[in-house]
Symmetry: C2
């Protein structure tokens, strides 16, 4: 039920796990933080002829993987050039602002008419503290601020959920009731001796104590409501102690299914707090470009063929002037998403071509709606965070910046798979229209009022992306199944061409995967240059 759950979690039973256990690392050790603590960037001094001619590396794609590759290679002085099909850097790190123009593969053109200063992160939007992406923000001096993934005041709205159907329930309310009942049930079961096999007498006492606090149940072990639900009349001054409402019946809560969303906040990369670059996610791409030098990048350069040989790599591209040209280099790092690369003529082996055909693109869509009034703050007291719904909007996201401003952009939907396809098949105007009628079921008529502008993206129909990210068949959402030969093949270069991107990591769909993949191929390439001169 969660959006982007990393499902693979290798148990600590064999391999690395066994090793670490033997080293005493597992068990009591606090969990690891930094994603790549042992990384060592390539250095000029590693090279046999540090003053000799620089190796030339052609990087295809100015997304995170491509830009980070150049950034790291530059640390050892490599001569790098980048070819990028779009007219901007960032790839799926894409911040839409006033004036952004995009034409999708269906031929729908949108021009963003957002107010100055307003923006929408159409692709990547948030960073977990443990991610290497945050290290790059620090290293590059990109200011960050908190991103609220969760919000106790946001809603669960389930249409297909029994007696709670269509009733917006605040997160804090749904959670207080569910946890209260769970505490009550577990208390009863414990007192009835149903768990005597599992619990010592000491455990039982400690567990009962804990449950009283955790579920806010009364001394008789019953859950009868709690101020944790929020107040019906909030506490105030004078004789106004605050009034809490009656809990929802357990059966209704279970039937609604809202509890399946609680676990989102336990996800290793979605637990609070999360972060975002101040001013838009593309500040990361911008900072990388500034660090490596914009002159190294050719925009509007669509790669049309790639040929690797013993002597080097030759890449044909259609340049900004519409004419085809060839760029040559000693090595190439190709970050074109596999679903696109597989269709580009190359002299790659069959094994590589098969491997490129394996990843399955994921459909994903987002709609930014600019309102002239921040009604979600003023009326609903929702400052950032996400409403979860089984309406086809899936997620409604409120902005974690610009609080108390005159206007703001909410994500009217952020959805995936069938829901993303449904909206993606509509025209941009029809997407907005459908989203407004759905959103009204959550927020009432104000969802329709004060709309000033909108912009939507269907990633499966977005040129040079053709998908939000990819999954490996038989793998999890975050990475391939163990031993996947296609994945393994793309980790190795094809002649002088290396492959990089989030799809070559166990962090599919995260910029961190793209960064780590870049570091890996840069390391591999550099080791080869060091070894072969």
């Amino acid at each position: 039920m969660t959006r982007r759950r990393v499902l693979s979690a290798v148990g600590a039973t064999g391999g690395v796990g066994a090793l670490l256990r033997a080293m005493g690392v597992l068990g009591f050790a606090p969990t690891a933080g930094a994603q790549d603590p042992a990384y060592r960037a390539p250095r000029l001094s590693d090279l046999r002829q540090p003053r000799g001619p620089r190796k030339r590396v052609l990087v295809i794609g100015a997304g995170v993987a491509g830009l980070a590759s150049v950034y790291e290679l530059r640390k050892a002085g490599y001569d790098c050039v980048v070819l990028e099909a779009r007219n901007r850097p960032g790839g799926r790190v894409w911040t839409v602002r006033k004036g952004t123009v995009e034409t999708d593969v269906d031929g729908h053109t949108q021009l963003a008419r957002f107010a100055p200063g307003q923006y929408m992160n159409a692709g990547a939007s948030r960073i977990a503290p443990d991610m290497v992406t945050l290290d790059y923000c620090r290293e590059l001096g990109v200011p960050i601020e908190a991103f609220s993934a969760q919000n106790a005041n946001a809603y669960y709205v389930y249409e297909d959920g029994g007696s709670l159907s269509g009733k917006p329930v605040r997160h804090r309310t749904g959670k207080a009731d569910m946890y209260g009942y769970m505490a009550e049930l577990l208390t009863k079961a414990t007192n009835r001796g149903a768990l005597d096999q599992e619990l010592t007498e000491a455990d039982r006492e400690l567990l009962l104590d804990f449950l009283r606090d955790w579920g806010d149940i009364d001394t008789s072990g019953e859950y009868t409501g709690s101020e944790r639900r929020g107040f019906v009349v909030p506490p105030g001054a004078g004789e106004r102690p605050g009034v809490v409402g009656d809990p929802f019946p357990l059966s209704d809560l279970l039937e609604s299914g809202l509890g399946f969303r609680f676990s989102d906040e336990f996800d290793p990369f979605e637990a609070m707090p999360l972060f975002q670059p101040v001013g838009g996610m593309d500040r990361i791409a911008r900072a990388l470009v500034d660090a490596i030098g914009e002159h190294r990048i050719t925009y509007d350069a669509v790669v049309q063929s790639i040929t690797t040989s013993g002597a080097g790599v030759a890449v044909v591209f259609r340049g900004p002037d519409g004419r085809s040209r060839t760029e040559r280099a000693d090595y190439c790092i190709c970050t074109i998403p596999p679903q696109i690369l597989k269709k580009i003529p190359t002299n790659f082996s069959k094994a590589v071509r098969n491997a490129l055909a394996a990843p399955v693109p994921v459909r994903a869509g987002k709609l930014g709606i600019q309102y002239g009034r921040r009604w979600w703050e003023e009326d609903d007291r929702i400052y950032g965070g996400t409403t979860y719904t089984d309406l086809d909007l899936t997620l409604v996201e409120y902005p974690s910046w610009g609080f108390h401003g005159k206007r703001g952009i909410i994500h009217g939907f952020y959805n995936f798979d069938a829901e993303a396809e449904r909206y993606g098949d509509l025209s941009p105007a029809a997407r907005l229209s459908r989203a407004l009628s759905q959103g009204e079921k959550i927020h009432g008529p104000k969802f329709r009022r004060d709309v000033e502008a909108s912009f939507s993206v269907a990633w499966q129909k977005t040129r040079y992306s053709m998908g939000g990210w990819t999954t490996w068949p038989g793998g999890s959402e975050s990475g391939p199944r163990p031993g996947d030969p296609n994945y393994a093949r793309l980790l190795r270069p094809e002649g002088r061409v290396y492959f990089a991107g989030d799809h070559l990591s166990h962090m599919n769909g995260w910029t961190a995967g793209a960064f780590l993949s870049a570091r890996k191929v840069v390391g591999d390439l550099h080791a080869r240059v060091v070894a072969t001169g």
Copy 2:
């Protein structure tokens, strides 16, 4: 176990609750948001002689209650003056910066040597989205940013906790394990039929489904660890799927008591997200002062006596020049904390004097430590949030601003009651020294390194406060017991003197209580003026 739990929660069974139920408001209604939606500020046009002579109101105390009183009264044109004992506005809204000097009642003088731009909120520091304080931030144009109360990467550290004693456990890890085991136990009990009385067959199936997701237990219903704990080896690029550690045994977790901290995040006013003014909590006081005009406030004016009569109020104070003077007005709003006011000579009735003697001051302390390196971010990946411990530090708070900067200030302790007293009885230097040796047990030797400056406050020893806040005997932490006659007495004016402050609300220890109390007395006073001319 929680820090500041509102314990009073009036059940929705009688009184207002019954009324609301009859109106159909309880039950399905989403919980209320804004704390004071029906508030109506006094208006000039309410007065019988809107062009007549203005009533003069003397406000004692330039804390939130006093400043907000003036701010609201000015909306109807009242002639207001403020006497404030300190040399600054804000009272317990106090942001300590480079150059702040404070001498406590023991005679210890501290000069804050923090770097420019660094600050510490020594008193109030955070605002919940439902609080009226946030409405004032919007109305006054005080920019806000997220405040992380919780952080999945912060630690639980319990010394007196069995086999986990002294081992820092990340929040995410402790929670994943506890929730995993709870899901397992509840699954077992349900399957054993121990809850057949409570659950229909349909409920049982839905509950079991939910528990699998919520606890991340396997299909056989066992909890064997989860990536939600965090990774021992984080997932990366190439063949690095991420390794999770073994769960802690349930008995150890229960014995440690760390689970008692989970409920902090369910508190109606502590659930994420929370907010803080950008640049320090005193920006709120500053904005109020700017709105009402600094010239209305006399600082260094210590009130020495208050006399109310049929004709007006006479207040004697020792002015900045050390000389006593008398200020007269038609009415007075007195916001001096009760534990101080009770010792000031007045002609108040015995009932009022008794009432002022009732509230019990709470001891509270905070220590700001400025480090030359943000090691909690760089090494521990903790960006904001709180570490909970049974060490006498109680809470260690990491700053929710200045991320990735060169330096930062953490709260080495934020504690209450006996722990606050222990530190408060030490000299500022000895407080730091003790805190460093305790903090080392959490963070290791780096807690001692790179210390650049520090500043501590013991609220029970702070002049003109003499306590962090107060509690009413027999009441909860947030307000008085129902029907408390002392509380009721102070809600009514004594002659021409009105009383205000967070202690006269059901939000003790929150600026929102002070704001709401100010609104209440302003309303009462204005109604009287309207009625009596």
